[in-house]
């Protein structure tokens, strides 16, 4: 559907050609010089691998109970649903009572809330955040727009089906879902985890090729290695 007459205007280089991502020599203030290859320094290329559960059932059950009762949410508001996360932390709804807490860095979080529509640009960041989280990890899609596009079904910049790109454990429908719905959703997620169903990270590792192909079909300027931890 390219217009014949339209000649694209020049853009700054995108993708792996970007200036910051090129190899360069750095001179430290003390006069030492060393090579920096940002791609290798910032990311790790290894593909993820599936992790075994404990062999003893009761241990695994105990661990699952712990995981369910201590959900640490990554404090990343990807869309407008983030505005209903704030009341959850405050007196009216107080999700801390249920073992739900917020962490500022993906390393320490277990639960990624996709709060609403994901634009392509945010999807890239969400994938990175997800991959930096530690196994086992869970994804909850919040709002109709993560399920089937919702209100933005014909938008050129929002994805329509989140589970094509990330392994989703639970969807909470609504536009936007009320805090009560979120609390009920968390309780459902706990049930899933306690029953041993929260294996999204292993699913991601096992179907890694498929997820990557889907992600790359949407993100046009893929400027990072396939997996970053």
């Amino acid at each position: 559907m390219k217009d014949e007459k339209y000649t694209p205007l020049p853009r700054r280089p995108i993708g792996l050609d970007r200036e910051e991502l090129k190899k360069r020599t750095v001179t430290a203030p003390d006069g030492q010089t060393f090579e920096v290859d940002p791609i290798r320094d910032y990311y790790c290329q290894d593909a993820p691998k599936a992790h075994q559960r404990s062999y003893i059932k009761i241990v695994e059950d105990f661990f699952n109970w712990c995981r369910a009762e201590s959900l640490w949410i990554l404090g990343y508001g990807t869309g407008c649903g983030a505005i209903e996360m704030r009341p959850l932390m405050t007196p009216r709804f107080d999700a801390y009572r249920y073992g739900i807490q917020w962490r500022p860095t993906p390393r320490q979080a277990n639960l990624l809330m996709i709060s609403g529509y994901l634009s392509v640009k945010t999807l890239k960041r969400a994938i990175r955040s997800y991959e930096q989280m530690q196994n086992p990890k869970y994804v909850v899609g919040l709002g109709s727009c993560t399920i089937n596009g919702g209100m933005y079904w014909d938008s050129y910049n929002t994805i329509k089906k989140l589970d094509e790109y990330l392994p989703v454990d639970l969807y909470i429908a609504g536009c936007m879902p009320r805090p009560e719905a979120l609390l009920a959703g968390f309780e459902d997620l706990k049930k899933i985890i306690k029953a041993g169903g929260g294996e999204g990270a292993n699913k991601y590792a096992e179907n890694f090729e498929w997820y990557k192909a889907n992600q790359k079909s949407v993100i046009k300027d893929w400027d990072m290695p396939d997996y970053n931890w």
């Binding site: 910051e20 020599t25 750095v26 404090g75 704030r86 405050t90 007196p91 209100m151 929002t158 936007m176």
Partner: protein
Amino acid sequence: MFKIEPDRSQYPAHNPDGSCDIDLSSGKYVKIWHGPNHPGITGNMSLELTICGDEVVEGRTRVGYLHRGFEKLMERRTFIQVFPIVCRVCVPEPDLNEYCYAAAIEELAGIEVPDYANWMRTLILEMGRFNSYMMYLGGQSGSLGMGVIGQWTTYVRDLMLDRFEELTGARVYHMFILPGGVRDVLPDGFAARMEETLKTAERYLDDVDKVMFQNAVFNKRTRGVGYIDPALFDSYGVTGPTARAGGATTDVRRDAPYLKYDELDFEPVTGTDSDIWARADVRRRDTRLSIDLIRQILVKMQKPGEYFAKIPNVLHWKIPYGETYIRGESSRGEYGYYLVTDGTGYPRRINVRGPSYTHAMALLERLIVNTNISDVGALMVSLHTYPPEIER
């Protein structure tokens, strides 16, 4: 005593276009990304900071994480279909979008809105402004590590959301102001319950005054930080409380009264210092003003009457060629809708002018240079930016 001023003479010079040549390979500078996944950022946006020690040498705002292509989607929808998506442009204060859109349509289609509907709209807008300020107060104190204020203000906001729910049936996206009027009248006993909410809010605001504005550490962190020269207001398109904190008296509610603001009794709140503290102070007093206005509106509102004008069959609603611009005063500054129609059943172009568009881009990039990295969060929150209205 112990004044530590960094040696700024070593920093790279700024080119005339505002950029500066930073040699990353010298090892003196570090480039860090503030956001989008960062708790100190308002919403989903990011700052690309080049720092030297603890000081920011260059800052770049990166937006677009929330882009849904609203302006394109609106062109594909009929006039009534646009109405449910306009409120999604700005999450914390969606009502102003509804008003601006409805007013623009009414102006081009020549629809006269009933008086009662105008009062209702004024009420909704003030309630929305109050909510937005509550978010702000929590965010500003939170950005300096005082989480308890955020707890209180979010609680008060929840109380106000209850009133919203009672009135419109929804907590966040109300979709109450539609072209032609509003959806409903006030429920029974609304004024009394609102009075109760406002009383609670005032009690909490007194506490906020004591804990936040009289706090020595808060004063130390915010006084004199993030100063905006009033001479820059026009060239950087600074409006709203941010401008009023620097002594300008720009308030759309007073300058170009819309709805029923000319029948209400109020004076724009202004400050003098134009720093973070002054901006917080202006917003705190503006919250009080909002409470006062809600009370005035509830008194001056007449008995429920006609609340919806007759509009044409929405399936065949065509609006002749025209263009207009409708503005309103949001809690961040001047908010406006530029609407062009071309005689068909679809809008030709809708452009949303959000105040954050100018505040968070050109202005923030300028202010952020030579600030301490600790102040970046507080500075950004003090401009009260909501990223969705930048990228839409």
